[in-house]
């Protein structure tokens, strides 16, 4: 399993114009608008220029992860991970970032009243951070293919504190175990990561059916994306389960 400091290929995490516009709820047809398109393309270029992606990961046991997952005791009463973790064959805690320079440039753009460019780059950086986390998940998934994956029909899916009932303060124990400070990601007392455009969490390897999450938990009502459903659909389609 991948572990330690991970090199992340910037080409894998550079967002597309389409994804940047979608992230801002801008309909696809607006990509044809020259001005909007130009702003998004500028954001992609800036992202490529400024992103300093980095990742770190460590395999952990179910027992050690349970301790991490319990955190400060703030998790929802019932969460998808309650049933997913027991079924896991492997667990990988991770943290990724697109780096501080992009965050600094976003602030600089706003400071010089270049609001549209700033907001576009912010959207690009958020997309990039998610893609970096996806890249981590993909590496785990790829590794599975080489080890009898088809026998147990397993897949890999990632989960992060602050989502799916896992309280954001879960990051404290995750950081204590993983030490992402080694790649320049820190956590403040409020569990805010710096650089802001960073993602932490766990990649779970388990039989694919356990990732068929019922998105009707109480906290699902506040979720803006329900990406768990899309990600499960992608997993199924990708591996033709």
């Amino acid at each position: 399993m991948i572990s330690g400091v991970i090199e992340i290929d910037i080409n894998l995490i550079t967002p597309t114009v389409a994804s940047i516009l979608t992230a801002q709820d801008i309909p696809e047809e607006r990509a044809a608008d020259q001005r909007t398109r130009h702003l998004a393309e500028q954001a992609v270029n800036l992202f490529s220029e400024l992103a300093v992606p980095a990742g770190i990961a460590a395999e952990t046991t179910k027992s050690d992860f349970s301790h991490i997952y319990d955190g400060d005791g703030g998790n929802a009463a019932a969460t998808p991970l309650d049933s997913i973790i027991p079924a896991a064959s492997r667990l990988l805690i991770f943290a990724v970032t697109v780096g501080q320079p992009i965050c600094d440039e976003i602030s600089a753009l706003f400071a010089r009243n270049d609001f549209a460019a700033g907001a576009m780059l912010d959207a690009a950086a958020s997309c990039g951070a998610d893609l970096a986390a996806d890249a981590m998940e993909q590496q785990c998934d790829d590794e599975l293919r080489s080890v009898n994956r088809m026998e147990n029909l397993s897949g890999a899916m990632r989960f992060s504190p602050g989502y799916c009932g896992w309280h954001v303060t879960g990051q404290r124990r995750l950081f204590a175990a993983l030490k992402p400070e080694r790649i320049g990601i820190s956590l403040n007392d409020s569990c805010l990561m710096r650089p802001l455009k960073s993602v932490s969490g766990v990649v779970v390897v388990a039989p694919h059916q356990v990732f068929d999450i019922d998105d009707t938990y109480p906290f699902c009502a506040d979720c803006r994306t329900h990406s768990c459903r899309d990600r499960f659909a992608t997993l199924i389609q990708k591996h033709d389960f």
């Binding site: 801002q24 709820d25 801008i26 309909p27 607006r30 001005r35 909007t36 702003l39 976003i106 602030s107 706003f110 009243n113 270049d114 609001f115 549209a116 700033g118 907001a119 576009m120 912010d122 602050g162 309280h167 954001v168 303060t169 403040n188 007392d189 409020s190 569990c191 805010l192 710096r194 802001l196 506040d222 803006r224």
Partner: protein, 212 residues
Amino acid sequence: MDILQQLSEQLQKGNAEQVAALTKEAISTRLDTRAILDDGLIAGMAVVGERFKVHEIFLPDVLLAARAMYAGLDLLKPLMIKEGIPTIGKVVIGTVRGDLHDIGKNLVGIMLKGAGFDVIDLGKDVPPEKFVDTAVSEEADIIGLSALLTTTMPVMQKVVDLARERGIYGRTRIIVGGAPLSAEYARRIGADAYCFDGIKAVECVKGFVGTR
């Protein structure tokens, strides 16, 4: 088309250079400063806000218009100070202590300024005392609080409590915003409103200031 209509139109199109040029021209023809502001710049941003609300235009268009507005405002500001022209209200905004997310707060500030409010942006990681101290010293109409983490939301309660202690609660309204928040949370902590975006913030603030 008169110059103020042209000004409004160019602002709506997000043409900052044109807005600056037309504002200069309007000033040089000795048009009333208040009229340039209200009937040119603010009128233009109001149209932008309405079009954004009904999804005719989107965030980049709004922000380009805002940039154009700022280009005009920068030229008008010295005249407004010289002539003692007040803004329609004063708003203190910031991201609460422990939190560094500021995009949403920035967008709210931009929209409020575009609507003619004087916005004092305290930045990020702002302690509760600074919100209230600034509101007191500036005689602010509104305090706007932003938080994007559930761990930093409790700071909002502290601001409300401090506002009560300092005797400005009720006179200075408190609005809150941020992804984990809700109208119910705002009610629970004694805030006056939850605003889910900049447009809503402008509506709320106009409503509160208008009731004075």
